[in-house]
């Protein structure tokens, strides 16, 4: 270990590692019965890291053109050594990452960690959630199979319904009027360059904010601790919380491996733009609740087209969600109950409609 010490010394002389490390050494994490929720942000980050690594590996063999995409994924699954593992992990981790992101967001909401001074942490987190959904949407098309093709067609069609700018947005997304090989190339560009670039920056911002403001404590615990100051407990980030997080990450890795080996991701059939859409097309589960809502809204509500109304409602809901910390602060005492109510409603609504979307024909 003399070598390690020597290297450390060499770097320290030039970069003053000590002062860099100091705040990290002092970082603490509050300990209470709801502390387990603190893991979800880290797991989301870990899964993102998995996606970057497996994504880079997939890039070595994937071909983003309509004539070769499907065959290249088939090649990865059947010819490349352990290609099935890398690809299945990538697909499973994508879904798990989005799930963890939602759980993280809701846990922050219910534990009210978005309050002053952490409003911008919440906003940056919401944008990260939207980026994750963008990753999911763009990545889903890349294997160029029938389900993906038609899900993209329906999804971009819905985007086209937004008033005024909808059509331009749709043409921008599709790279033309229809979903074609141009759409595939464009989505590929979004998925491997544009979105990762923005996401990396935003993650750094989000982490910097978390570092700056420390880990928040839920109000109930806060009250307890203010009442009896001696009862406040915390643990050091390094090594205590970090070791626990490492455990969680390792377990997540094991689950991913098991899912990839026992339920490898399927290929589907190659997309044929001229074939009719298969019956019962639906998007991936994380868009299902929105899709199902649009199906429920009648085709005409007063003077508005039903789909447009649905899109506007979801747009409004998204905007409200991003602004939750400000709404909470502005409504004072009632703020807590408003946000709690909205949160419970959102969770129930999303869960109920996702389940319904699965069962419905």
């Amino acid at each position: 270990m003399k070598l390690v010490a020597h290297c450390r010394g060499w770097l320290d002389e030039r970069f003053d590692l000590h002062s860099l490390a100091k705040p990290l050494k002092k970082k603490t994490v509050p300990v209470h019965k709801l502390s387990y929720w603190y893991f979800f942000g880290g797991i989301t980050l870990f899964l993102f890291g998995i996606q970057v690594c497996t994504g880079i590996l997939l890039l070595l063999y994937y071909r983003p053109s309509a004539g070769e995409a499907f065959e290249s994924v088939q090649y990865i699954m059947t010819r490349v050594q352990f290609g099935w593992l890398i690809r299945s992990i990538h697909s499973w981790a994508a879904n798990l990452m989005i799930l963890m992101a939602f759980l993280h967001m809701f846990s922050v909401l219910f534990l009210r960690a978005y309050r002053k001074p952490r409003e911008l942490t919440w906003v940056s987190g919401m944008v990260l959630l939207f980026l994750a959904l963008g990753f999911g949407f763009s990545g889903y098309l890349l294997p160029w199979n029938t389900l993906a093709f038609f899900a993209t067609k329906v999804g971009t069609e819905i985007t086209g319904q937004v008033p005024f700018i909808g059509h331009s947005m749709m043409v921008f997304l599709r790279g033309g009027e229809d979903v074609t090989g141009a759409t595939l190339t464009r989505f590929f560009g979004f998925h491997v360059a544009l979105l990762p670039g923005i996401t990396t920056l935003l993650i750094l911002v989000h982490l910097a904010l978390v570092q700056k403001f420390g880990i928040s404590v839920p109000p109930s615990v806060e009250a307890e601790w203010t009442a009896s100051p001696g009862s406040a407990r915390e643990m050091k980030f390094f090594p205590n919380f970090f070791l626990r997080e490492a455990m969680a990450w390792y377990i997540a890795l094991g689950i991913l491996g098991a899912l990839a080996a026992i339920y490898p991701w399927g290929l589907g059939t190659k997309a044929d733009p001229f074939a009719p859409a298969p019956a019962g097309i639906k998007p991936e589960w994380y868009f299902l609740f929105m899709f199902q809502t649009l199906k429920f809204i009648p085709s005409k509500v007063l003077f508005l087209d039903g789909e447009v109304l649905g899109i506007l409602l979801f747009g409004l809901a998204g905007a409200i969600w991003v602004l939750l910390p400000f709404i909470d602060a502005a409504t004072r005492h009632r703020g807590r109950r408003i946000v709690l109510g909205a949160g419970i409603f959102a969770v129930s609504y999303i869960v109920a409609l996702t389940l319904y979307g699965y069962v419905a024909k």
Binding site: L57, L60, S65, G67, E68, F70, E71, S72, Q74, Y75, T78, R79, V80, Q81, F82, G83, L85, I86, Y250, L253, K270
Partner: protein, 153 residues
Amino acid sequence: MPSSEPHPKLPQRRRVVEFLLGGGLFASAASFIYPILRYLVPPVVPNLGGDEVVAGKVGDLKPNGSKIFRFGTRPALLVLTSDGEYHAVSAVCTHLGCTVQYRADLHEIWCACHNGMYDLAGRNVSGPPPRPLDQFLVHIRGDEIVVSRKHGA
């Protein structure tokens, strides 16, 4: 409350824990790195291209000979005429899907199922087939015969 002096069993316990941790970390890391390293090695067959396939080598076919090869997910037919021209078409008959064959005696492509006939460009000239066979482009690259899809779709 544990004493500040290590219990005689503790050093051994500690080593077990360290071994478990170190060994587990190392072994699990190896079980992640091993597949990744194998993955990085390109397989022998360079591509399963949907657009382009190596149908064979120059010299595989005799003049007025043919062979069936795979193009994507369907069979295809490569024909070398007596004047040295290569033709490649889809080998799936457009009538009911049987695999067609080259008839060296007739210099035409024939489907044995219901006597359908196609010319070397894939045009359906007689019998039940309602449509021509899909035509492919043939290029010679070195000593390889490369068959590719006609672009336009």
